[in-house]
Every structure is written in structure tokens, then in C-alpha cells.
Symmetry: C2
Subunit: 244 residues, 2 copies
């Protein structure tokens, strides 16, 4: 028995998210089919986390049990030869049997890209925000989110979770000529959490709310206090961090 770890990049545009569902194109569905055919055994992938419809990943981490003899180089080459072009295996390696992409992960890092003007090139990877936003307002709201807190306000209502505690390690905004980039790193994320956070930041950035309102919103534990859920296509699972 071997445990194979893959780092995977995908363009979420034409996928209904990561998680396998019958009769729907998902990343997990495509990958399991290709790898099962390639390795001639049923492959079940464990991912660091699910991504929603339309969300991208530049370095999703997955692993699976494998009892065959093919080298990791063969899995890498064969997988990429058979996979559709919107999924790429970036690396394949043997890891200890106790490695689990989901439970071994220390933190996940997401990025959300807002473009300042409508674009044709790269429009699949950035949300055009039609409002003027001020970086300094958004930056002032970041520190309230740091640390172990209850993020229920930033979770889709009706989500099936046992608790809303997340430990937030990093929250920051960067600005370039064309874009605003939001970077957020935490031990776990709730359903739609990054997109609701960004929607709330945009409300603050455009002056609809004060920077310090972020604190009140967080403490309310009420989804209706937070801003709108911004579109999926600006979001990318950027990195998953493991201890070693």
C-alpha cells in the first residue's frame, strides 16, 4: 500500500466545484476517472478542502491510496496526458501512510482578485468591482479578524457545520495598478466565507460602512449583518500549508 500526494492546479470556470456529484462535471470526478483508468484500480481522492463552483486552485493538495507499482513520474506524466487541459498535476510523490490532505493541513490560503476596470484578458480570474474603493478603509478593518474567533456572520446560512470557530492567521489587502488582491490564511474556512468577507470589505472600501463595523459584524454572529457574497471567479485556493 502506498500513499500518493498530488499538487493540482485547476481553472474552476467550467467545473461545478471540486466535489464529485453524479452527472455533473467536477474536478474530483474528472481526476478519479482518469487516475482509475490510468492505474487500473479504483482511485478515491482526499482533498485539503472542497472548492465551490467557479472557484480556482493554483495548488490544491490531494492524496490517495495506491497498491500498484507505477512510479510517481508515470502518474504525473500519464495523468497530465489524460486529464482535460483545465486540470494539471503539478507534482506527484510518495508520502507516509499517515499523511491526509485534509486532516494534516495546518492552514489554507486563499486569494481574491478584484480588477479595477473591465477586462477581456484574464476576466475568468478576477471580479470587476463597479465601485470606487479605498484601500486604506479596508486595511483598517483587517486586524479585527485575526485570531481564533466565531465566524458565523461570514458563513452561508444553512451550512451544515458543527461549529464556526476559525483561527485566522493572516488577512491583508494589496493594490497594484490594475487590481486589489485579498489574501487570507486560516486553519479552516466556512462555506462562502472568503467571498462574504470580501463583500463586507468592499462595503467598507466604498464607504457604505465604517472600518470598525467589521468588529460589530463579526460579533453579531448574524450572516445578515455582513456584506454580499461576491462572485466565485475572483477566488483561488492559493496554497495549503503542512507542518513539514
Amino acid at each position: 500500500m502506498r500513499n500518493i500526494r498530488l499538487v493540482v492546479e485547476y481553472d474552476g470556470t467550467d467545473f461545478c466545484g471540486w466535489q464529485k456529484q453524479p452527472n455533473i462535471r467536477t474536478v474530483q470526478g474528472e481526476m478519479e476517472e482518469v487516475l482509475s483508468n490510468l492505474l487500473q484500480q479504483k482511485v478515491s481522492l482526499i482533498a485539503s478542502g472542497r472548492t465551490d463552483t467557479g472557484v480556482h486552485a493554483s495548488a490544491q493538495v490531494v492524496n490517495f491510496s495506491y497498491t500498484g507499482q507505477h512510479s510517481c513520474q508515470t502518474i504525473f506524466n500519464g495523468g497530465n496526458a489524460l486529464l482535460p487541459f483545465d486540470v494539471r498535476i503539478l507534482s506527484a510523490e510518495n508520502v507516509p501512510l499517515d499523511f491526509n490532505s485534509r486532516f494534516s493541513a495546518q492552514a489554507r490560503e486563499y486569494k481574491y482578485r478584484i480588477t479595477k476596470k473591465p477586462r477581456a484578458i484574464g476576466r475568468q480570474y478576477a471580479w470587476f468591482c463597479p465601485f470606487k474603493i479605498k484601500l486604506s478603509y479596508m486595511e483598517k478593518a483587517c486586524p479585527y479578524l485575526i485570531g481564533e474567533q466565531d465566524f458565523k456572520s461570514f458563513c452561508r446560512t444553512g451550512a451544515d457545520v458543527t461549529h464556526y470557530q476559525c483561527n485566522m492567521y493572516q488577512v491583508k489587502w494589496n493594490e497594484s495598478d490594475d487590481d486589489y488582491i485579498f489574501t487570507v490564511r486560516a486553519n479552516r474556512f466556512l462555506h462562502n466565507m472568503v467571498r462574504i468577507l470580501v463583500g463586507t470589505f468592499v462595503d467598507i472600501g466604498r464607504g457604505k460602512r465604517k472600518s470598525k463595523d467589521m468588529f460589530t459584524i463579526l460579533k453579531s454572529r448574524d450572516r445578515h449583518m455582513a456584506g454580499p457574497t461576491v462572485p466565485a471567479h475572483g477566488l483561488i485556493l492559493h496554497r495549503v500549508i503542512y507542518n513539514n
Copy 2:
């Protein structure tokens, strides 16, 4: 009579190039239809130059005659509201009547992106080159191309042109972690010229030919001496330069 100048960005993936053709989706075709509807008069666009099927533009320059009263802001907003998302008007302005996007242009600048590893995200905008290439070999071949010379070797055979003289102002390669970027600026370009140049550089970069062979190839005036035509999707019309 007014002369309106637009700067236009497009993602060439789903277009059969710039130039209008019956029953085929082209950038010129889409734009003329939208602008004619919007302005309620027949709009004929003059572009700085044509781009081939699959080639992108981040700043194509076009102009057209207009006899109506709508402001440039209206043309900008209305055009972007009606255009498909893979074409965006970046700016619209009134210019002197003697301005002609094609004949007033001093130089065109193209970029070609080669990605070092297969990618899912941004795969529409970079060609994955399966060979190991050495930047220094390609850099050494650049100076041979500078200046007013005959570029027949780098023109598609059978192209309908009166002469092959081009004045090359800049030819350079840059390398980043993920990509090689080729930048080339000249007063004019022949059909497939940038893509044949890149194909020849790649032959040099992978050691199939010597850097100094670029000189022999250029002087031969023979397309068969040059390298292959690399795929269109790595190419972008990056900038058009005017005197003022």
C-alpha cells in the same frame, strides 16, 4: 464629422482574428455590429493592424468616422454594455480627422509568452514549450534582428505583400520563475512573423541551432530556413505607438 479613437482589449481565444469575414466570429465583426446599433449609423473600423485567429490584444487601437452627437463617454459605456465579455473598450476619445490607426502608427509591440510547465490557469495566454531552453542562447541571437532589414525568412509563404522590409526597434527575452517572455517592436510585421521568430528562437534556445545562425537565416530570405510557427495563443498585441 468626428474621428473617434478607441483602445480595445480582446481575448482572441474564441475569435477568428480581427478582420471581418462573413459568417465567422471576428473582433471587427462583433465591434462594428455593436457600434452600428448603438450609434444608429454604419460604423467601419480601421485598426492598427490585423491579428490572426487566436491572437490576443491588450491595447489594439482603432478609429472610425462618426457624424452623431453621442459623447465619447456614451460610446465607452454603451459599447462595453453591449459587447461580449471577451472584448472591452478601454478608452474612447475624439481625435483630429487626420488620425488613422493604421497609417499614423509609428510602431507595434508584441509579446509572446512561453510557460515552463503545463498550466490550467492562464493556459489561454501562454504556450507550454515541452523543451528545455536556455535564455542566454536566445539573447545572443537578438541583436542580428535589429534595424531595417528584409524579413522574408520570417514571413508565411504565399503572403500577399509588396515587400519584406521591416525596421526592428527592439527584440528581447525576459525570464521569470514560470515563463519566458519575448518582446518585439517594429514599424511593421509580416504575416506570422512574431510566431516564426519565436519558433526560430526556441530552436536556438534548445541547442538545435547556434545563436549566430539567426544571421544566416535572416540573410537567406527563405522561410524554410527558419523555425516552426509557434501556436497563436501565446501571442498578444501589447501596444501601438504613435508620435503624440
